[in-house]
């Protein structure tokens, strides 16, 4: 077993100038065969492997990552975590995740800095108010903490918001989920990787999947840049690249991959200590522990696999930021980047078997996948291990696009990060 992380281990290692820390995870070559192969070394993929090993005793498994772990959307998102979704299915899924978040640092013995500083969603027009109140009522009955705040309460909770009635789209109120918050994205990937590796999971980086070997209606293995790997179960968690893998197995998914942009400001002393989201004017902001304002912009309207988006998306978001926070006008954008998000027509994910035996997909998280990482991994692991969905992800099957039984979160604009 690895050395446990704690203040004591830090002190101990300080005496040896930190020369004796062990590797956080090994750097193995792929074996000939595994009981399962997870395609994609992001948070969701690593979590899947972690729970396969931990809860389903599947330890002879591998995670193959074409680049470096946590380098995709896990390391590129604005780390908002909440579970105040409208539909029962979504609420169940995301709150399952939130409950795991609450004990994750201890479960992984890795500080993922889950910070329950609350997430506020603002309403700017009468329909916003209806939609958000509808969500609040649904949340309450689903046992999810969510309260409606009037404009004054919004101002009280986050004083720097411009709640003047004279602005173009005044704040008419908002919802608050106090259990919601943010976490340290890299730590999530690294913590799961370290935990999975400790249980024997092989994490294989710089190993790109080039093909899915099928024998009729069941899978036989994956072709990778590090050779063929035999396996009976393949769990694809490739986010923006899900369709690329799907095309290898020639199945089509209801996905479009689009660039989603985000940016951070230069670090400043604490100025906003919660997360504020506004779908109507499209502004999302929080402040990282380092002091940077972390701002989420929108997606472009076209398919693109370049991790660059259009400038007008960033301009549009900062416009909204200054409308709500005019005090930030002299703050400076330090870094801007893009990720590739795979979006379903109903803005809800797919955690599902396919008609091909042993081929499973976990995708379609769109702009909001990070918050679901632990739940997604747990439920996908269950689905792979039992070849049956857990009741919490049963509704997120691929077949819903045929039957029409969508989990349409557009209604309550849960497309937000």
């Amino acid at each position: 077993m690895k050395n446990k992380y704690s203040i004591f281990s830090l002190i101990k290692n300080a005496f040896t100038d930190h020369e004796n820390w062990q590797r956080a995870w090994r750097d193995p070559l792929p074996k000939k065969e595994y009981d399962a192969v997870i395609v994609g070394g992001g948070g969701h993929g690593l979590a899947t492997a972690f729970y396969l090993a931990k809860k389903h005793n599947m330890k002879n498994i591998a995670v193959v990552e074409k680049s470096w772990i946590g380098g995709g959307n896990t390391g590129r998102n604005t780390t908002i975590i909440r579970s105040n979704y409208l539909w029962d299915a979504s609420a169940g899924l995301y709150d399952h995740a939130l409950k795991i978040w609450e004990g994750l640092s201890q479960e992984l013995n890795y500080n993922v800095m889950f910070s329950q500083r609350g997430v506020m969603n603002l309403a700017h027009n009468l329909q916003d108010v209806r939609d958000l109140k509808r969500r609040t009522h649904a949340n309450r009955l689903n046992g999810i903490d969510a309260v409606w705040l009037n404009t004054q309460e919004v101002k009280k909770f986050c004083p720097i918001i411009n709640t003047s009635p004279d602005i173009r789209y005044p704040v008419l109120g908002g919802t608050l989920q106090r259990r919601a918050g943010t976490a340290r994205h890299d730590a999530v990937a690294w913590g799961y990787a370290r935990g999975a590796d400790a249980m024997g999971v092989d994490i294989i980086q710089n190993c790109e999947v080039k093909g899915i070997k099928r024998n009729g209606d069941s899978v036989e293995g994956v072709e990778t840049t590090k050779g063929f790997i035999k396996t009976k179960k393949i769990g694809v968690v490739a986010a923006g690249h899900s369709s690329v893998i799907a095309n290898m197995a020639d199945i089509k998914l209801p996905l479009e991959s689009k660039p989603l942009q985000a940016l951070v400001s230069e670090p400043v002393k604490p100025i906003i200590d919660t997360v504020v989201m506004s779908n109507a004017v499209h502004a999302y902001v929080s402040q990282s522990d380092k002091g940077e304002l972390v701002i989420g912009a929108g997606t472009d309207s076209y398919v693109s696999y370049t991790q660059r988006g259009s400038h007008d998306v960033v301009e549009g978001t900062l416009k909204a930021i200054l409308e709500l926070y005019p005090i930030f006008s002299r703050m400076k954008m330090l870094r801007q980047w893009g990720g590739i998000v795979d979006i379903c027509p109903d803005a809800s994910p797919i955690i599902s078997k396919t008609h091909i035996k042993g081929l499973y997909f976990n995708c379609g998280w769109g702009t909001g996948g990070f918050k679901a990482t632990p739940g997604s991994g747990d439920l996908f692991a269950h689905t792979i291990a039992n070849d049956e969905p857990h009741k919490l992800n049963a509704d997120f099957n691929i077949n819903r696009f045929v039957s029409g039984d969508l989990v349409d979160e557009h209604g309550a604009a849960a497309v937000a990060h």
């Binding site: 209801p254 309207s301 398919v303 259009s310 027509p345 039957s403």
Partner: protein, 91 residues
Amino acid sequence: MFLINCPYCGERDQSEFTAGGEAHIVRPKQPTELSDDQWAEFLFMRKNIKGVQLERWNHAHGCRKWFNMVRDTSNDKIHAVYKMGEKPPIK
């Protein structure tokens, strides 16, 4: 911001255009004849290609004409544009 060569108006900034997704997904002439699966295929299923893709664009803030584009989604390079009803030029 792309610089898009509208087949009618010439080179214009991307902000004058809207994207319309994958091209050449023809609306079935007889929808009622289709199975739920076939209809879902038309409605939702997409190739979502990484690489050269044929897609629909609309010069929404110019001549308001729809046209097709050959674009490499892996680097956003536009290879060609062509009018509705025309065959895609050889990639």
